[in-house]
């Protein structure tokens, strides 16, 4: 609170400066122009980048989605909503969303684990920082590298198999062999990779809860679980809400890991992989753009529904 008042005062002070002249109570023209232009000058660089690399391509994609462009030919024809009709009349294009179910289930596990570790490590635990590092590390690795690493991991006689045989379990299992097994394995990789991010978000939120609350709770005889239930969980609700949205949209748009590890074979094809294949394998850039637009709309819709169901309340711990 003190912070805001100070800035307000600072902002008001130039205007409150005593008038130098009886006729002109406002600062000179040049100053006024500069004052108006300065924020835009600061914004120019990020805005230019944002427009060039985000909005222009998106506008481009939306434009392509109304054409029959093949991605390279100099000629393209406007086809109206034909691509969209095509997408919504082909049920098989939406079947791939079933695969997202695996990732959705995995993200429940992922959020649970992240919450668990974040809570534990927010208390005084030995080697705290070391464990934080270990948990966050996978998120720093490039997704392509992760794909390759886990390909060896799941290989016949690979890391996982030799690890299991160390414990006396000789599995003769092809981990990526069947559709269910492959999807579960891939979703597991995705948990391993993204849990670190969720963990850090949760940890940051937990640490912003004032320490007095724990002290007070301890004095009242609350145990760790009660502290979690009545202080931490309500305290980090907005972050949990955000994580859930990110997880849902992430599950709908899974790409890197399955694309590199299986290329969408054996029933692991996701909506994005399918879109990429439409665009680059069958050269239907127009149709693929329409599919990408549809995915964007679906994610927006899911987010909207989710916000309606769980409105973003203000946190009030005290």
């Amino acid at each position: 609170m003190t912070h805001t008042t100070r800035t307000e005062k600072a902002a008001r002070s130039p205007a409150a400066a005593p008038p130098q002249d009886a006729g002109t109570s406002r600062p000179p023209r040049k100053v006024r122009v500069w004052r108006r232009v300065t924020p835009w000058l600061f914004l120019a660089a990020p805005l230019a980048l944002l427009v060039t690399f985000t909005y222009a391509p998106v506008a481009n994609m939306v434009a392509y989605s109304f054409t029959d462009w093949d991605g390279v030919s100099p000629e393209l024809h406007y086809t109206g909503v034909e691509n969209y009709v095509d997408i919504f009349t082909r049920a098989e294009l939406f079947q791939v969303f079933l695969v997202s179910g695996y990732y959705l289930a995995a993200s429940v596990v992922q959020i649970g684990l992240a919450l668990y570790f974040a809570t534990i490590l927010s208390f005084n635990v030995r080697f705290r920082n070391f464990f934080k590092g270990v948990l966050f590390f996978p998120y720093l690795i490039n997704g392509v590298a992760i794909g390759f690493v886990f390909l060896y991991f799941f290989q016949d006689g690979g890391t996982l198999d030799s690890l299991l045989s160390l414990f006396g379990h000789d599995s003769d299992r092809a981990w990526l062999g069947t559709s269910t097994s492959a999807n579960v394995s891939l979703a597991g990789v995705s948990v391993w990779r993204y849990m670190g991010l969720n963990f850090v978000l949760f940890l940051g939120a937990i640490q912003s809860i004032p320490g007095e609350l724990y002290e007070a709770a301890e004095l009242d005889g609350a145990n760790r679980w009660q502290q979690f239930r009545y202080i931490i969980a309500p305290g980090i609700r907005p972050v949990i809400g955000l994580t859930v949205i990110l997880s849902i949209s992430g599950s709908l748009a899974v790409f890197e890991i399955p694309y590199i590890m299986t290329g969408g074979a054996t029933g692991t094809e996701t909506f994005v992989i399918q879109t990429v294949k439409l665009a680059f394998q069958f050269n239907k850039t127009g149709l693929a753009s329409a599919a990408a637009v549809v995915l964007l709309l679906i994610i927006l819709a899911v987010t909207w529904v989710q916000r309606r169901l769980v409105p973003d309340d203000k946190v009030d711990l005290v």
């Binding site: 427009v51 909005y55 222009a56 998106v58 506008a59 481009n60 939306v62 434009a63 392509y64 462009w69 093949d70 991605g71 390279v72 030919s73 100099p74 393209l76 390909l151 799941f154 290989q155 016949d156 690979g158 092809a174 990526l176 062999g177 069947t178 559709s179 492959a182 299986t262 290329g263 969408g264 074979a265 054996t266 029933g267 294949k277 439409l278 680059f280 394998q281 069958f282 050269n283 239907k284």
Partner: protein, 438 residues
């Protein structure tokens, strides 16, 4: 408020304008790249885009360029080796900047060739001298020149096959399966390796088309009916692949195969057979040398079918080199292509088939000559239409997906019946045929 609206308006207008400029890379249509009359006078720096990253890195390409400079001293040749050639060059071709000489990416529609490439001459004149000219011919003009020809076939380890007691090439798919079974029971080798994970080796099964019935019109036939009808070429090939996997004659876990590792494994006799092409022989021989086994153990055999008691092999071009229509040094670029095709040692170095009509077959194919394998060139005049049907139907005969599904089906990772699956492909294909009005 007003302010903000006008800003958003400007941004939107800018974005839409950007959307308007798709790759309409100029309208210069129908340029010619003429062969220079006097080698000593051609000059300029030309950039060659190539997918052969390996031979650019090890300096082989530079050696070719040095040799080229002995005849054309004023031309400077630069190479740009591109991993993921197809995808990257496709995007670059939306601009004018895609080298002076490049390999024609498969995605470019044949009818668009005149918009992207300069013509190398008329088909009537070039077909006298070169094979495969119809693959790049549009309206009687040729736009590309292949570096070498390739023939599909099985790369196999002779020692493994000998140990299994199979000395003659199988002449029917059933005999082939029996041979693989013998390998399985009598040796430790994996009889057949699918390279499922690396995907593109599965696509080469499409090249059985033509050899099954020894038919030069095989490509045209793909546009005329159901390629998966009983007895049709693709059906025979796909059925063989299915049976191999279904009868347990392929590797145990296809989902984690590794192409690079598979080469020394075949060379050492841990793998019996793979369906690839002549282009692969040199790589397997090199792998054998590295692994310390005998390169001469690498054998090559045709698809197991015979017409009138003769095996049949189809020859097709590898990547075609072309001259960028926007190149300022078309003569120099043309000189490079002509020299590379006729004078360079590329074909010999790769144990490949020369695109020149009068050149002899490479030594590695001597076994073919001895066995009297008939060589045919499949007519490609309908090649563009086949691609169009393929894209429209989303079957993907040049993509790995449906064969991955086939392998999954065969090993029981996916439910379904193989006949339904293949006739399903046929149905989608014929529907696309009708939609395109062929």
């Amino acid at each position: 408020m007003n302010h903000r609206r006008s800003l958003i308006g400007t941004l939107l207008a800018a974005a839409l304008m950007a959307a308007g400029c798709t790759g309409s890379g100029g309208t210069s249509k129908g340029a010619d790249a003429k062969a220079p009359d006097d080698p000593s006078k051609v000059s300029g720096t030309i950039k060659v885009l190539t997918h052969r990253t390996d031979i650019v890195q090890d300096g082989t390409m530079q050696k070719y360029a040095d040799e080229f400079n002995k005849t054309y001293p004023k031309v400077k040749v630069e190479f740009e080796a591109i991993t993921g050639y197809e995808a990257e060059v496709k995007i670059r071709m939306n601009t004018e900047n895609y080298g002076d000489v490049l390999m024609i990416p498969a995605v470019i529609k044949k009818n668009d060739y005149p918009k992207f490439f300069a013509s190398l001459g008329t088909e009537a004149e070039r077909r006298e001298k070169y094979r495969f000219t119809d693959y790049t011919a549009v309206d009687g003009k040729v736009y590309g020149q292949t570096t070498n020809g390739v023939m599909p076939g099985f790369v196999y380890n002779k020692k493994v096959w000998r140990e299994a007691g199979v000395t003659d090439w199988p002449t029917t798919p059933a005999e082939f399966l029996t041979a693989l079974k013998a390998i399985k029971s009598r040796t430790d080798a994996v009889p057949y390796y699918t390279n499922f994970k690396d995907m593109w080796p599965l696509t080469s099964w499409t090249s059985v088309n033509g050899s099954v019935h020894c038919d030069t019109r095989a490509t045209t036939r793909l546009t005329e009916g159901d390629p998966w009808a009983e007895g049709a070429d693709l059906r025979v090939g796909d059925r063989l692949l299915y049976d191999i996997v279904n009868q347990g004659l392929a590797e145990k876990d296809p989902t984690t195969t590794n192409w690079e590792a598979s080469k020394p494994r075949l060379a050492k006799g841990e793998i019996g057979t793979m369906w690839l092409g002549t282009w692969a022989i040199i790589q397997f021989r090199q792998a054998a040398e590295k692994a310390g086994s005998d390169p001469d153990d690498i054998g090559f055999m045709p698809f197991p079918t015979q017409v009138d008691g003769e095996f049949c092999a189809t020859a097709a071009p590898d990547y075609n080199q072309a001259v960028n229509v926007h190149s300022p040094h078309k003569e120099a670029a043309r000189a490079w292509i002509d020299w590379f095709t006729e004078k360079s040692t590329y074909v010999a170095d790769n144990l490949a088939m020369s695109p020149l009509r009068d050149a002899p077959l490479p030594d590695v194919l001597k076994a073919y000559e001895d066995a009297g394998v008939k060589l045919i060139e499949v007519d490609d005049s309908e090649g563009a239409l086949v691609k169009e049907i393929d894209n429209a139907s989303e079957v993907g005969i040049y993509a790995p997906d449906y064969r991955q599904d086939l392998v999954d089906l065969a090993r029981g990772a996916k439910d379904g019946d193989v006949d339904d699956f293949l006739s399903g492909l046929g149905r989608r294909w014929t529907e696309a045929e009708e939609a395109l009005g062929s």
